[in-house]
Point group: C2
Chain length 137, copies 2
């Protein structure tokens, strides 16, 4: 029950769900995730820690870059079933599809440029923003 509750609590935040689903297309470093969800790096780091504690993601450190990915096939069945469930439940979700598109654009940019842009405050990087101004009314 403890393990299960850790999973449901981890899934009870929209940003964490978005991150989890984004990792389906392969591992990402923190700055790429930051770019996707548009939150402070520290906030993303915390979210990743929650996901990791629930066993929903694994981490790999390469130099000063931290890469997160979905757990390998050796992970507990509980975890795989949870990820499959979320994936199926949101298979046709619009915001998830939008994230997938944006993610492709983000992955096309050199991560180093993302980090640089993020630390310099404004992002002069040519990655589409999540909700373009939306001038309607």
């Amino acid at each position: 029950m403890q393990r299960f509750m850790a999973i449901t609590k981890a899934l009870a935040d929209e940003n964490r769900v978005r991150i989890l689903l984004a990792l389906r297309s392969g591992e990402l470093c923190v700055c790429q995730i930051v770019e996707l969800v548009q939150l402070a790096t520290s906030t993303v780091s915390r979210h990743m820690s929650v996901l990791k504690h629930a066993g929903l993601v694994e981490a790999r450190k390469d130099g000063r870059w931290m890469y997160y990915r979905l757990p390998a096939s050796g992970a507990p069945d509980l975890v795989h079933r949870a990820i499959d469930w979320v994936s199926q439940m949101l298979a046709h979700d619009l915001s998830v599809l939008r994230d997938a598109e944006r993610l492709a654009a983000i992955c096309a940019v050199d991560p180093q440029r993302l980090c640089a842009a993020q630390t310099n405050g404004k992002q002069p990087c040519n990655v589409n923003q999540p909700s373009p101004p939306e001038e309607s009314q």
Copy 2:
């Protein structure tokens, strides 16, 4: 996404998960649920409201008794899949099995006696308590 997040948030509390699984064996009135989870009636009522908002349970009022049950087969696929998922994930969970046993004892008692016992403070009802004193050390 909204619907899905309502479901995960509803599932992010252990007592709500216990209640949801208890309803698999048939509808229950509030006083029976109170007896199961050993929380204040008002607290249980709130939990039921969260579950209902997520579509995970349906309610039926009969006289002054409120009965809660799992949604009928006409409910959204999202909901059924969520319930099936929780059910499978916790199929072999000890505390869930214990709840099932206690629930059988609770259902064997006239609900009216449960309510009476609950409003009178102490419970002189012969229903097994969840964690008997546990004198070990």
